[in-house]
Symmetry: C2
Subunit: 336 residues, 2 copies
DNA sequence: TTGTCGGCAGACAACGTTGTCAGGCGCCTT
DNA sequence: AAGGCGCCTGACAACGTTGTCTGCCGACAA
């Protein structure tokens, strides 16, 4: 296994100085065409590959790399964000370190630290932590940070997210307006800001609708579709089962839909989910959801990050995108 | 904005030599506890962050980073691979550059070149190119490469994939055995090895089943669900419409299912898809698919890559995973 | 002819880190 | 007391690159 050739090797072959090779590689002016040709031949002969690590070390400028830390790159929501960020980054030649946090605070800290060591220019974060002040030193020393999907806490950083609370309220009001009073709520870990806000929206709507909150209808801390299925199944066994379900995240909605179908109640118990998901419109009945423009969210977040890296100054910006209720059938089922 | 402090700064504050700081940071032996404590205090005071770029430059060892180039990180198949690779990588502290190729050869070449410049240790590739010999120089100079999902061509590299041809044959034979003779085939770009192999399997099955191939039932070059929907819709308008559809990729299957549903034929035209997808079991009727163990594929590929990076020698290994036909209803519909 | 100027090329140091080696100090042995 | 050994510590060079500066050469003007 040969080792990669360096500018020094190229210089030796082309019989020029190392610096001249550097000039040719970087398309700097001040090299006569003849010499440049000589150098280029040598570069090709030796299959020269530029070493960006060394270059960046010397230049001390941007590395054209960012970190994108998401909840789970295999989840369609995170994946869509990643893809959107990748697309805006590619245009400027920026590459992306991607990683999943699985809501583990410690993993977030370790990954951030690791990526900082690798001199990333920016960080796009869907945080697992609920306090982001640990990043303030990094921001002070030049790291650009944009938080996506969740609120920033304890840090002056840009943020792109949706109004989860009002989105959830709209969903539950939709069910109330169809006559439901026994509305279940499925939620992820309450430590997740998004989940907590959606729960707050659920409570808001019940309260202003004059409906008492029944803890039997509240299932929180659900971490996946299967658990959501179980939760709904057991609620359906209650003496007074819920007549409608509001589910706080796409995976939970799929789990809830399965539970209803298996119980033969898909057409009699209403269902509204937060987050759209593939094939939501193809189920029977099609699933009513609170939709957010994930692609726009990712693109905006990516753009804001790149702008910050490019040097934009100014106070942190918070972009709160709207959500849309998409009625498809499941959410318009009346109570019995 | 202050600049990050270096070992030199720490050394100055702790009144020791730079090298002693290096020893403490790297947990090397040979520093008295007293001095080490002094240094650690200084490290904390200055919020020292290790510079891996400089470290790697000097050490000339592994950078503990790999590139993962997939078709589209937002596609559930690619995303699942990415996630599996991430999981095996994280264990060894390896970080992942992720990117989407969208079947564009030029993008693959550029990304590879960019990542090589960043000194990645390995490359996990779902190639857009059909000739991978351009990588042989990189392999010779120390890059480990594993190709996933598709065959390797012109390069001595490891590979993890499924037997697409036989999987497709099984799917079509399944339809034949239920009595179908007019079986449509939906496929992606024929330049994609996977798509071509599946088409070959389709043709194999028809031939050995004694069924003549009808070009009207062949729709190739379909790049997304919508196009697949259109293709199926127009086939259903034929004088002799197909009685069954075999779809060559998950997105196309979703598109086909939609077309059948919209035409009111979901229960009368059979459908089998290659690749499983979320909610395939929740549609009406549930969709019969050729399933592959994507998670295993990603994990294996990642492990092989990390082993190569760790120095495993020997000839390239090719792992061909089996596929499974999962009958769910849509594929068992008989012809009229 | 001399002085100057522009274009080109190379020597050198530096980015932040680590491997190598040499030196100093205290302690033990003879 | 002299020698030797082990433990710490630091000076130095090097990884591959690039910014700065100096110097050379030929051409042109005075």
């Amino acid at each position: 296994m040969r080792s990669r050739s360096t500018m020094r090797d190229v210089a030796a072959l082309a019989q020029v100085s190392l610096k001249t090779v550097s000039r040719v590689v970087n398309n700097e002016p001040g090299v006569s065409p003849a010499l440049a040709g000589q150098v280029r031949t040598a570069l090709e002969q030796l299959d020269y590959r530029h070493n960006l690590a060394a270059s960046n070390l010397r230049r001390g400028q941007h590395t054209l790399s960012i970190g994108v830390l998401l909840q789970d790159v295999a989840n369609s929501f995170s994946a869509a964000i990643l893809r959107a960020v990748e697309d805006v980054s590619r245009i400027r030649g920026v590459v992306v370190f991607a990683a999943s946090l699985d809501e583990e605070e410690e993993r977030e800290r370790q990954l951030v630290s690791n990526l900082i060591s690798r001199q990333i220019d920016g960080l796009l974060l869907m945080p697992a932590t609920s306090d982001h002040s640990y990043l303030s030193h990094e921001v002070r020393t030049g790291l650009s940070v944009v938080v996506v999907d969740r609120q920033v806490i304890g840090l002056r950083a840009d943020c792109v997210r949706v109004d989860n609370r009002s989105g959830a309220r709209v969903a539950v009001e939709h069910l109330l307006s169809h006559g439901h009073r026994r509305i279940a709520f499925l939620s992820d870990l309450p430590s997740i800001e998004t989940a907590a806000s959606r729960q707050a929206g659920y409570l808001d709507a019940l309260r202003s609708g004059g409906v008492k909150v029944d803890p039997d209808y509240l299932a929180v801390g659900l971490r996946g579709a299967d658990v959501a299925t179980d939760a709904v199944r057991s609620m359906l066994g209650l003496e007074q089962p819920p007549t409608a379900v509001f589910s706080g995240r796409n995976e939970l909605t799929m789990g809830a839909a399965r539970a209803l179908r298996q119980a033969g109640l898909a057409r009699s118990v209403a269902l509204v989910g937060f987050d759209d998901f593939t094939l939501a419109d193809s189920l029977e009945p099609a699933v009513t959801v609170i939709q957010q423009d994930v692609d726009a969210e990712g693109r905006l977040a990516g753009q804001m990050l790149l702008e910050r890296i490019a040097g934009r100054e100014g106070p942190p910006r918070e972009i709160v995108l709207p959500t849309t209720l998409v009625p498809r059938g499941s959410g318009e089922i009346p109570p019995p």
